[in-house]
């Protein structure tokens, strides 16, 4: 079957999609977006986390046909602004993960970036206080890092939250 999805702001079409195929497979194998990672295929690891209509989901558990006509934002869509692919400036969550050394093997990173982006969007981005450590742990409970680099990951989330709060304050003072 044919599936039409808005991915990272672009309307795209995938053909010959099998009825039981996951959104993750469509993104990686049919649309050339391998950022979302395929690890457990059962919703345990969070490596395939994407936004589906502004809500984060494990894309391995969304049937491709369920994404028909909907909007998907993947890790590739986090970097904003002009340029293509790696030329685009990183968003604050991505930059904070780099700066804090929160990336080891990198496999869990795309899912963590999307899930962190969502957490900060719903807290600092909505004018609420930065998330507490228990709130960060809760939000990221479905994202596993098998390198066990959780301390640096928490550092990165705090750093991104601080920077976003500063930006917001600067914006509101201007």
């Amino acid at each position: 079957m044919r599936v039409n999805i808005n991915v990272n702001g672009q309307n795209v079409t995938a053909d010959d999609v099998w009825a039981g195929e996951s959104l993750l497979y469509v993104l990686r194998e049919r649309l050339g977006l391998p950022g979302s990672k395929n690890a457990c295929e059962q919703g345990e690891c969070g490596s395939c986390t994407v936004y589906l209509d502004d809500v984060t989901v494990c894309s391995c558990m969304v049937a491709a046909g369920q994404a028909e006509g909907r909007s998907v934002r993947t890790v590739e869509g986090l970097a904003q602004g002009a340029g293509k692919g790696g030329d685009r400036p990183l968003n604050s969550v991505q930059q904070a993960f780099l700066d804090a050394g929160a990336v080891q093997c990198g496999f869990c990173t795309p899912g963590l970036l999307v899930q962190t982006d969502d957490l900060l969007d719903r807290t600092v981005g909505a004018g609420l206080p930065a998330p507490t450590d228990p709130e960060i742990r809760e939000a990221l409970a479905g994202n596993l890092c098998r390198c066990t680099g959780y301390e640096k990951i928490l550092d990165a989330v705090r750093l991104a939250a601080d920077r976003l709060a500063d930006t917001d304050n600067a914006g509101s003072n201007a």
């Binding site: 009825a19 295929e41 919703g43 989901v57 049937a63 479905g142």
Partner: protein
Amino acid sequence: MRFLSPSTLQEALEAKAEHPGAVPITGGTDVMVELNFDKRRPDLLLDLTRVAELGRWEADGEGRTRLGAAVPYSRIIAELPALAPGLAKASRTVASPQIRNRGTVGGNLGGASPAGDALPPLLATDALVELASVRGTRTVRARDYFLSFRTTARRDDELITAVVLPAPAGPQHFAKIGTRNAMVIAVTSFALALDTRGRTVGTGIGSAGPTPLRAEAAEDFLAGEIDWDSPAPLPEAAVRRFGELVAAAARPIDDQRGSAAYRRHALSVMARRTLTWSITDYRKEAACA
């Protein structure tokens, strides 16, 4: 395999009548795992995410809440803590945020795993399961819905359209044991609901039997122990006895998640804890009233 995505309930019911073997899918948190791992190849996947009425909840004006089968757990947590406190608390323990954004009570009922986190509160609160087909709509008490391991009162041509939750009339609590605080299938779980108007007690046991279970002897015992006119802390012997009766109602097995003996022990502890929380809440409410 075909994929069908009806936009009205009528179309969905007609498709289910025509293809009784069709597998309904909403959050996909169970169905997609089976597809990804080649465990299941239904002829038809029936996507229910576009049937708007399944994704809504409404209060009926008499305190009852009709919760569409496809409302995800994250919305139950955010929107129904007052109207369905027990279910909202259980929903918070489901897996992870990403899964709670997708998983639904309809899916828990459809899969009918004894470990479904939403199921014990439905038993404890005497919720109704609404089943629809082209032949009409009927409701079955959640307490009568589970027949045997993963077998339910739902007929092949029926879709689960909603659950009807009674108006809360007292404290409702939920406890779950797992190896960590998130992303775990329950080793065992327990729901308790006090109906201070009807002066009855409801219970639900998860993951300690072939189906979610009630502890009826424990319910009757506790209803007789609580002073409904002026709630007071229960004697320790009564609290302990309640825990024993809950543990005795379980029918657990030894498996990779825990032994039968451990499950019974954990249930007795969770029963005592939820009872203590409930009596504390009840006394607070009584003091405010």
